[in-house]
Symmetry: C2
Subunit: 162 residues, 2 copies
């Protein structure tokens, strides 16, 4: 089995968008992934292939307003590869890309209902930022992404390059 993590390309858009709702258990996620991320943020967005087939992806960027900050917008892992370490590999590749671009801080947000994502971010060394409400015992920012869309806000300081 060969795992390859590489920069995302515009040609990845269709394969990704055609599976993303399925990978998220039928939730309609495609609207969160317009084509633009596959054109304009390719240096900080990655595809994971196993034996040449798409098995995961990460879309992120360097903040244009906040010096030294990077942001992970969207991650998808093929259901049969959950728990295999692919998410960790994608995140570590992103951390390296962020460091190369002068970032010392990475942020990300997730829904408090997504307990797998909350656990994963904690395992990856993210801390939960204080919010204005608690859901399932976790601090959230209420209505952060619009009415009813509470978000857990994660932040991680990157260690200096070894």
């Amino acid at each position: 089995m060969t795992v390859q993590i590489r920069e995302i390309r515009p040609a990845d858009y269709r394969p990704v968008i055609s599976v993303v709702d399925d990978w998220w258990g039928g939730r309609p996620m495609a609207d969160m992934l317009p084509h633009l991320f596959f054109e304009h943020f390719t240096g900080t967005s990655f595809a994971a292939e196993i034996d040449g087939e798409l098995a995961g992806f990460l879309v992120g960027f360097v903040s244009q307003s906040r010096a030294g900050e990077a942001y992970i917008h969207f991650v998808g892992i093929r259901p049969d590869e959950r728990g295999s370490g692919l998410g960790r590999q994608l995140y570590e590749r992103f951390f390296a890309a962020a460091r190369e671009r002068g970032c010392g801080l990475v942020r990300s947000v997730t829904s408090p209902a997504n307990s797998g994502s909350v656990r994963f971010h904690r395992q990856m060394g993210f801390e939960v930022e204080p919010g204005d409400k608690e859901v399932n015992g976790i601090q959230v920012a209420a209505d952060y992404d619009g009415d009813g869309n509470d978000r857990v806000r994660f932040v991680k300081r990157l260690a200096a390059t070894a």
Copy 2:
């Protein structure tokens, strides 16, 4: 009447997100505007206020992958202000911000069904890029933003600063 165009702020997120579907005639657009744009792209995103009230906004960024390119992601104008020149003012403010950041090219996409947007972009000096299909006499990239979401792709070269 006082028109003010200013950089967008995180605090603009709720006012914008609460009106955007209405401004778009009831179409569910809010998913296209996650909070992140109001945090990380504030230097190239703008709010227009008339007598202190939100009357329009533009969300855009500088491409991180393509040197010298900027991209306009989303624009909303309050229905009673359509045709008033507010869209033009927002675009010109964006062009100036893009030029300051070394950009010579601006891109944007729109749905071919949005004839007002197609007309507006042409008036603003954008050209339509060749596509792989024609809809309503306009070249489009088929399924550009996912199945059934054809897009007219606009491009405009910015004149050097006067």
